[in-house]
């Protein structure tokens, strides 16, 4: 029998993984100057294609790869819209949310004639870690994707701080004109940040939701987690460590809500679910206008051939 404390920690980590992954992906896009409201869409598409991949190949690993491809697919549309053709980033993101939700629900019904896919191979546990003495039985309870996300946090921290490409992403998001003068291809860097980095993170986050936590896909699986990731980036002030903590906070309140529902049926769980949002609003009010925000965020950088 687990103590309440242990259960809470475990559930918090479990529930915050997708938010952390997506928030890191979003941080890449936003640092490069592309607002990504399509986070929800990337996760939805990723979770759907992950199940598709696992269903048709019979292997969960292929499923995860398919999830990444799904996330990148949506991210590609976003970067084509916003980076290549200088479209409105907010509207494109919202459109992709609707599109991904509609497309996955539509294809799900066309392929499986129901709103829910059959069960597939999942990655809920990491059995290899069971052999480790003392902590093995705890560590093996998490999905391998959780460990991958820890690696992603560390790698992206180092990547943004220590590598040339990381610096270039920041430069492109702060002042694209200056970056271009310095010889950086603004569009390629932005494409890379949105399409590859953000897409991979979004796809992984989606895959975690569908085959890392469950073993199927259904409508509304993402259920606002993408938006929480967008907000986590703002609240974490584009700092990977801070935004991971904010995402953990969201995960903690989600876990708390589940526990309250089990242990105190008289308290309405919605009220507990509201807490992280209220905290977020108050935190936004207190922190005020964000000077850490990339200067060129939401501003398209047009190619010369598309100028009037």
């Amino acid at each position: 029998m687990l103590s309440l404390f242990e259960t809470m920690i475990e559930a918090t980590i479990r529930l915050s993984v997708p938010i952390i992954l997506m928030a890191i992906g979003n941080q890449f896009a936003e640092k490069a100057g592309v607002m990504n409201l399509g986070a929800e869409g990337m996760m939805t598409m990723g979770s759907f294609t992950a199940v598709l991949g696992a269903y048709y190949s019979g292997s969960a690993v292929v499923g995860v790869l398919a999830g990444i491809v799904g996330g990148m697919l949506v991210a590609t549309i976003h970067s084509l819209n916003t980076v290549e053709f200088g479209g409105n980033q907010n509207i494109s993101g919202l459109g992709l949310n609707t599109l991904a939700a509609g497309l996955s629900a539509f294809l799900c019904r066309e392929l499986f004639s129901s709103g829910i896919t059959p069960s597939v191979q999942n990655l809920q546990r990491t059995e290899i870690l069971r052999k480790i003495p003392l902590v093995g039985h705890i560590l093996s309870r998490f999905s391998p994707l959780m460990y991958i996300s820890i690696i992603i946090i560390i790698v992206s921290l180092l990547f943004m701080k220590k590598t040339t490409l990381g610096m270039r992403i920041v430069a492109v998001g702060d002042d694209p004109t200056a970056a271009e003068t310095a010889g950086i291809n603004v569009w390629n860097v932005r494409h890379l940040a949105v399409c590859v980095f953000c897409g991979i993170c979004g796809g992984l986050a989606g895959a975690y939701l569908s085959i890392g936590q469950l073993s199927f896909f259904q409508d509304d699986l993402v259920n606002g987690k993408g938006m929480l990731a967008v907000i986590a980036v703002k609240m974490g002030k584009w700092n990977i460590g801070a935004l991971s903590l904010v995402a953990l906070m969201f995960g903690f309140f989600d876990a708390l809500q589940v526990q309250i529902q089990i242990n105190f049926p008289s308290v309405s769980p919605e009220l507990v679910e509201l807490i992280p949002y209220i905290v977020a609003v108050i935190a936004l009010f207190i922190s005020g206008e964000n000077s850490a925000q990339p200067k060129a965020l939401t501003q398209p950088y047009l190619k010369n051939k598309y100028k009037f």
Binding site: L94, A101, G288, N290
Partner: protein, 360 residues
């Protein structure tokens, strides 16, 4: 050519190009799954406009969408992107349903307007939070609105479960509203058409006059077109931005109130039709013009009504409508590119004309 200015012509061409591109993409998708796009769109159209029942349902569905789109448009005229319409609508419907259920013994002529006003106040009050965030702290309205959309659904669920649940109802919902607060119906058979339709038309007319015939509306549009320019011209930009957000919230609340008082007569848990999100593409496609918004909202209402017919007749699941909307919004995001393309097209025609004139 002379009747229309080139800007207007380019604008119309842009809209046509966007609609056509979306149509092509959806057709390709339908061909991929082996369905004829023509029969699918035919079934959609027939379901929405083919019968009296379909037509009435379409108009009825268009009413809240139209009001939400107007709410988006007011803010957009001031250069603000209000995507919190959905949340404001939900809060508005809560306020209106509470007024409708718990205030008793009023005649319809007083009770209905009271509930509508309650809905508007609820929506405006909910829009006040992002407005204050903008005024006091210069917060990103977009992010606040997104937060508050999700919050609104949770607030609604919480309030219904905790305080207003009708224990005898089959679904989780509030008590049925008082008979005196039901919106009067204009048509009863084959489907109900309530006066929400007239309210939406009146509001659209008022908004049209406000946008294009009053000084205040002119200043509002000036703020949206060039915030700094308007500021230097002595316009109080903050006032216009905040009031347009509040008006948008009130309109969204009105939409929610009409939906509850005229269609459902109760507030269900999970009542969050995405009318607010429908309003965004409509307002953008129509260039925030109320006349265009009326047409656009009828089209979007038709999509929703026709989708069930389509599902039965062609066997394409009704989720296709979401895909259509998503594709459409993505193309609207590319408006700049389409504008560029249509200007190029028109430019060529223009050059030819000029050449003709010279040769004569």
């Amino acid at each position: 050519m002379k009747l229309l200015s080139r800007d207007k012509l380019a604008g119309a061409l842009t809209t046509i190009l966007i609609l056509f591109s979306a149509f092509v993409v959806i057709s390709i998708l339908l061909l991929c799954i082996g369905v004829s796009p023509l029969s699918t769109f035919g079934a959609l159209f027939k379901g929405a406009f083919g019968s009296k029942l379909g037509l009435i349902n379409t108009i009825q569905k268009a009413v809240p969408i139209c009001l939400c789109a107007l709410g988006v448009a007011v803010a957009k005229q001031a250069g603000i992107f209000n995507i919190g319409i959905n949340g404001q609508m939900i809060i508005g419907s809560i306020a209106s349903v509470i007024t409708a259920v718990y205030i008793k013994g009023l005649p319809t002529a007083i009770h209905v307007p009271l509930c509508l006003i309650a809905g508007m106040l609820g929506g405006a009050l909910y829009a006040l939070i992002p407005t204050l965030g903008y005024l006091w702290r210069r917060l990103n309205i977009l992010v606040l609105c997104l937060l508050m959309n999700t919050m609104a659904v949770k607030i609604e669920t919480w309030l219904i479960y905790a305080y207003f649940k009708d224990p005898n109802a089959l679904t989780n919902s509030t008590y049925r509203i008082q008979a005196s607060s039901n919106l009067p119906n204009l048509v009863r058979t084959p489907a109900r058409l309530n006066i929400g339709f007239i309210i939406a038309l009146i509001v659209s007319a008022i908004m049209y006059i406000y946008f294009y015939k009053t000084t205040s509306g002119f200043e509002l549009r000036a703020v949206g077109l060039n915030n700094n320019g308007a500021k230097y011209a002595g316009i109080n930009t903050k006032k216009y931005i905040s009031s347009s957000l509040l008006i948008g919230g009130a309109l969204a609340g009105l939409a929610g109130a009409i939906e509850v008082l005229g269609t459902y007569y109760r507030l269900y848990v999970g009542f969050s039709p995405a009318y607010g999100f429908d309003g965004i593409p409509i307002s953008l496609l129509s260039g925030n013009n109320p006349i265009g918004i009326i047409i656009g909202s009828i089209v979007f209402g038709a999509l929703r009504v026709g989708s069930s017919t389509m599902q039965v007749k062609v066997g394409v699941s009704s989720e296709l409508v979401d895909v259509i909307q998503g594709v459409l919004i993505c193309f609207i995001a590319l408006e700049y590119l389409f504008k560029f393309a249509s200007n190029k097209l028109l430019g060529k025609i223009h050059h030819k004309e000029a050449a003709n004139v010279k040769s004569i």
